[in-house]
Amino acid sequence: MEYVLTTDALGKDYGKNHILKEVTLQIPTGSIFGLVGKNGAGKTTFIRVISGLQAPSSGSYTLSGVKNTDPKIIKVRRRMGALVERPAFYKNLSAYDNLKLQYINLGLPSFDSIDELLKLVGLQDTGKKHAGKFSLGMKQRLGIAIAMCGDPDILILDEPINGLDPQGIIEMRELLLKINQEKKTTLLISSHILDELGKLATHYAFIDNGRILQTLSAEELARKTRKSARIVVSDTQGMCRVLDDLGFKFEVASDGSIDVYEDINVSKLVLAADKEGIEISKILENDETLEAYFMNLLGGEASR
């Protein structure tokens, strides 16, 4: 697998406070990578460090194959767009002029593609209206458009849906999916709004207290958070035969307990088990969301 960004034991200290502790991540090219963590977990600091706003205190990172200590990193950054914390733009300029300034920053010779970029983020009709007078959603989209200038390989977005209304959240989700699918841009999105991230991300990293707790793909996470019912039985082998006969998908969790990955009709299941002389003592439903999974992960970490 190809990685656009990798970090190796990345650390950041503010005085005596260790904000990032040996963060090691690999972000696959073309993925939508969700960085999940509560407020103050270290997400923004991580993004500030990899986007060059702050220097790491320890460790290193590699962007498109170039290490952060290599002077060539400056050139590679031209292939990266970032929206850190809040959209950065000049309030007294129009959306077009803000993009024009970013084109100048990037040294792009022509402004021809600005209109296309404005269309992509749905700001093509804003004309000469000053960006300071935009709604929150429009400001957020302008921030993304600025980060998208020069067609970057990786787009880093820190809490892009913060403060948006439900309509704005849907629009933002559609925009990000469009950018990822049409432009083939890798997205690194940090968020504490997990349900929304769950609708986008192809990979996840869970961060807490400056440390990465776990990284996994969306498929792995789906397996772990799959809706299931755990049944506790007197005869595991016999129950497996019953479940096979009923055509259920299941896995033996341990001797005496089986996870069933289907909606089950309890009376039908109990009657079938009773026919075989098997006693069902408990049925526990497991419908873990991304949020619940994260909270469990945090709980596990806290108890360590």
Partner: protein, 277 residues
């Protein structure tokens, strides 16, 4: 670098406050003349000789107003980039920090000189068109003195850039600029006051009640005196208020160039290491 300077000009020309400051630098001398003209007529109506009683205006005093405007300009220009995310957009897309700092410094210096030129031009025109009235109520300073204005605007631009880029608190940056400016404008007079303390003072003896002379304990002598004289000669207040000799021009050229290079260098190094939010 050229791209960054171009970037600054595009946004500066759209900032109404900055344009307003530019217009203010042009109309301050005109307003001052109108003020003096009103005063002149007031004395005339009261039956006094207006040329005897009216205050006389010195452009060197008014230059202090311009330096405050320069502090406000640097604050508006740099804080817009710093707090609205301009620095973030530049750094994340690979613009070198040294390029960013140097372009901020050069643009601030350019505008400081432009404001000064507008002010001097407006002053000279006002002086010229006001005829006899102008020559009686305005000090006609030698042209050399105006060179000092340009020199100090250049040095102050570098100091204001350093303060506004370095300090993360908006209010602190502008307050520090203004405090620094007040100190710069007044430190020369303060030092001069200390240096003018007489070597001997007359005191009355408590025992006999007789007056006698003794060495003044407040008199500054030796190396400290030399250092204070050295500093005082290099302050804008002292340079602008005294006679503009060739030596004054030389000393102030050295001082302002030193300040520009020193604060520019410190700013450049500290900005390269600074953690941005």
């Amino acid at each position: 670098m050229i791209g960054q300077i171009k970037n600054s000009f595009v946004r500066l020309l759209s900032n109404k406050l900055i344009i307003a400051l530019l217009i203010a630098s042009l109309i301050i001398p005109v307003f001052k003349m109108l003020g003096l003209y009103t005063e002149y007529h007031y004395f005339l109506l009261q039956g006094y000789d207006p040329f005897q009683y009216s205050s006389k205006e010195d452009p060197r005093d008014m230059y202090q107003i311009l330096t405050f405007m320069l502090a406000v300009f640097a604050y508006l220009f740099i804080s817009e980039d710093k707090f609205e995310g301009g620095f973030r957009n530049k750094i994340t897309c690979g613009v070198k920090r040294s390029t960013i700092y140097l372009s901020e410094l050069l643009v601030t210096a350019f505008f400081a000189e432009l404001y000064t030129a507008c002010f001097v031009f407006s002053w000279l025109i006002t002086f010229k068109i006001s005829g006899r009235f102008g020559t009686s109520l305005f000090y006609n300073i030698p042209f050399k003195s105006y060179i000092l204005f340009f020199m100090w605007s250049f040095a102050l631009a570098a100091l204001f850039t350093l303060v506004n880029v370095y300090f993360s608190n908006r209010m602190f940056a502008i307050l520090l600029s203004l405090v620094m400016l007040t100190a710069f404008n007044n430190i020369g007079s303060f030092i001069e006051g200390r240096l003018n303390v007489p070597y001997k003072e007359k005191v009355v003896s408590e025992a006999t009640g007789e007056e006698y002379w003794r060495e003044n304990p407040d008199y500054i002598s030796g190396k400290p005196r030399k250092i204070l004289i050295h500093i005082a000669e290099r302050t804008p207040g002292k340079g602008l208020s005294g006679k503009t000799t060739d030596n004054v021009i030389k000393v102030h050229t050295q001082t302002t160039v030193f300040l520009f290079i020193f604060s520019g260098g410190v700013g450049l190094i500290s900005f390269r290491r600074k953690d941005l939010i």
